[in-house]
Symmetry: C2
Subunit: 382 residues, 2 copies
């Protein structure tokens, strides 16, 4: 077999000519980066020696194509590379074209992803978006306040009691800590039941909704079941760590009409994609990719906390969550990771009002009275 | 609420004292690395300010614990940290304890993972292992030969024809290229049907089995269905890229008794976990983690090819696939990525006979006659 009987005319009729664009940042000399850009074209499409490719549409259309190559800094180059839309007809394969094998290469980073129209056939984005979450809370203007149920080791009843304190004292969104799974000292179902009941009891008392967002991150065979159980109990959203479940698993939960809850993405186990000078830029991954994967809200480590993201990177996530993308809804940023009440004015200045202020452990350390700490958090937002 | 009503005695009765061990490599000064090790203990367990933890079993057992801290090189330190087994009762949460939030930290890498006994309740490892794959092929001694169906753009019928050439000329395992998903020019079902038929036809002619291993990497809702379809058609294995599907999704397919096929893991979209001085060591990720996640065979970029892994790292994968781990089966290494026939003697010297030699594009470039190239590949192994 020498590809001589390859039916090129049929392939031609199956391709529309539509292409989507990925911008890669390459680090090194111009020559090395040009070579790397050419390698991306091959590795992320045909992954086959170009000298023996069947002639016609495979090199002509299936192969990646450098659309531009320019310097972006000292030893930093940008290559815009386009790919045939029909090679990426589902989300897992789309991600594979963007950065499948090249994830194993050093000195290269996905800086930006620009979809072409037909890809929106399988990408629906957030179900609720910022507006949808605000509608659920009947809170159109103010920044949203969020905290987390901690620490691991408490019982389900303890978490229910904590939930009630938060909900009765003005916190509008309460998520599980991402380490709360289905441990026997606070089993998932028991915890979700206690916390949903607590949220309802608080609503009856205060007249204000507080969304309880359980962590449904779970093994493949249990993921949907946990999300459905959360729905059944009246949870206000679900949290998923797509680094642990796979990005498409989060997308499937977001698109599932029986679940139909706001999805909060958590960065656990995904950080290696962004913290090196390799992988994805912070805004491309926690902004664009998470939104494409259906997150209504993205939790990420804020600048100046326990982690290393810069202010510019964090703002980039927020902007990527709002930039116009076909008719996709927006995604609310939830900067977190060592935040304190005194950081709020600066965060509001950076992000504006469409932000979910997430203070976790810090809410327990700013004073001995947790109720008062919650009210101080509410007051700090004004 | 001040944790005063926290029922410490109940938690105590729920903990066995069993701990598992993770060795982290830390990069920087001794002081910075000691601090980072202490942070790991907190971040990967309670993720809560230790000063306000409820007293008793949470700091005593739930919190991570530094078991040793030592220098491993200039500005390289190793910390062995143990975690409470009951905090990690399912695979997703186990991975979360190992490296969930710390994946977002720089200058730290998981170097080794040592499970404790109870974790094997949810970790079954490979279903077939090296022995099982050898039994399927009735090939107990020789290294196994493998290639890939390429390039993207061919039709399902073309791939079937290629499959037949490979299978009739001595290649024992043929996988889909990892970019073959469900594109309309070679739809999954059509491709699998053609290739399984070709493998069967070749078996009738040669009397030797060739395993066709389709790529079942797919969106969450279609993954199991594709694997079951492959099974139904008589595929010899399935390939999954857990970077795209999630590690636990691969594990679920491996453990699924209706599928019951050898699982080949592909590194697409997972490389950022290992190619930086952050994340996981190559053997910990492509060796240990893949085996725990049920891979019977692990495809990875060999040293000296198009990628940057060192010989030591690659050998580390092979060794991690064979080291005694409770009663887990072994995992066969499939070094790949720009391999050529002339590399075979060196590879056999490095890895020994329990290797799956994967030559993809190189099989098309070493001569004009693909049949002859296949036979040369077979002959080179001796």
């Amino acid at each position: 077999m020498h590809f001589s009987d390859f039916d090129n005319s049929r392939l031609q009729s199956q391709l529309s000519g539509e292409r989507f664009l990925v911008t890669y940042e390459l680090f090194g000399s111009e020559a090395a980066c040009r070579t790397a850009a050419e390698e991306i074209c091959v590795e992320q499409s045909v992954e086959f020696p170009t000298v023996v490719l069947p002639p016609g549409e495979i090199p002509g259309q299936i192969l990646g194509r450098i659309e531009s190559f320019s310097q972006a800094g000292e030893d930093i180059w940008k290559a815009e590379i386009s790919f045939c839309a029909e090679t990426a007809g589902e989300f897992t394969q789309f991600l594979n074209v963007v950065f499948g094998n090249f994830s194993i290469k050093q000195h290269v980073r996905v800086a930006k992803i620009e979809l072409s129209p037909s890809l929106y056939q399988f990408i629906r984005g957030p179900r609720f978006g910022i507006e949808g979450i605000r509608d659920l809370l009947q809170e159109q203007e103010r920044p949203l306040l969020m905290t987390a149920l901690k620490p691991l080791g408490l019982s389900a009843a303890d978490f229910g009691a904590l939930m009630r304190v938060f909900a009765e004292n003005g916190i509008r969104i309460v998520k599980d800590d991402h380490g709360l799974a289905d441990q026997k000292f606070a089993p998932f179902k028991e915890r979700v039941r206690y916390c949903c009941d607590a949220a309802n009891a608080a609503y009856e008392k205060t007249g204000k909704r507080c969304l309880y967002v359980p962590n449904v991150t779970a093994p493949f065979t249990e993921l949907r079941e946990r999300a459905l159980y959360a729905k059944e109990c009246g949870a206000g959203g679900i949290m998923v760590a797509p680094g642990l479940t796979g990005l498409d698993a989060m997308k499937a939960l977001a698109e599932d009409d029986e679940i139909a809850l706001p999805v909060f993405s958590h960065p656990a186990f995904s950080g290696s994609n962004v913290v090196n000078r390799q992988g994805f830029s912070v805004p491309a991954y926690y902004g664009t990719v998470m939104r494409l994967a259906g997150a209504d809200a993205v939790i990420f480590p804020n600048y100046g906390g326990r982690f290393s993201f810069t202010k510019e990177e964090c703002l980039g996530i927020a902007l990527a969550g709002k930039e116009p993308l076909q008719d996709l809804k927006t995604m609310i940023p939830c900067p977190s990771g060592g935040m304190q009440i005194d950081r709020i004015p600066g965060m509001l200045e950076t992000y504006g009002k469409d932000i979910c202020l997430l203070i976790g452990g810090g809410l327990f350390t700013c004073g001995p009275d947790l109720e008062k700490n919650c009210r101080d958090f509410v007051d700090a937002v004004g």
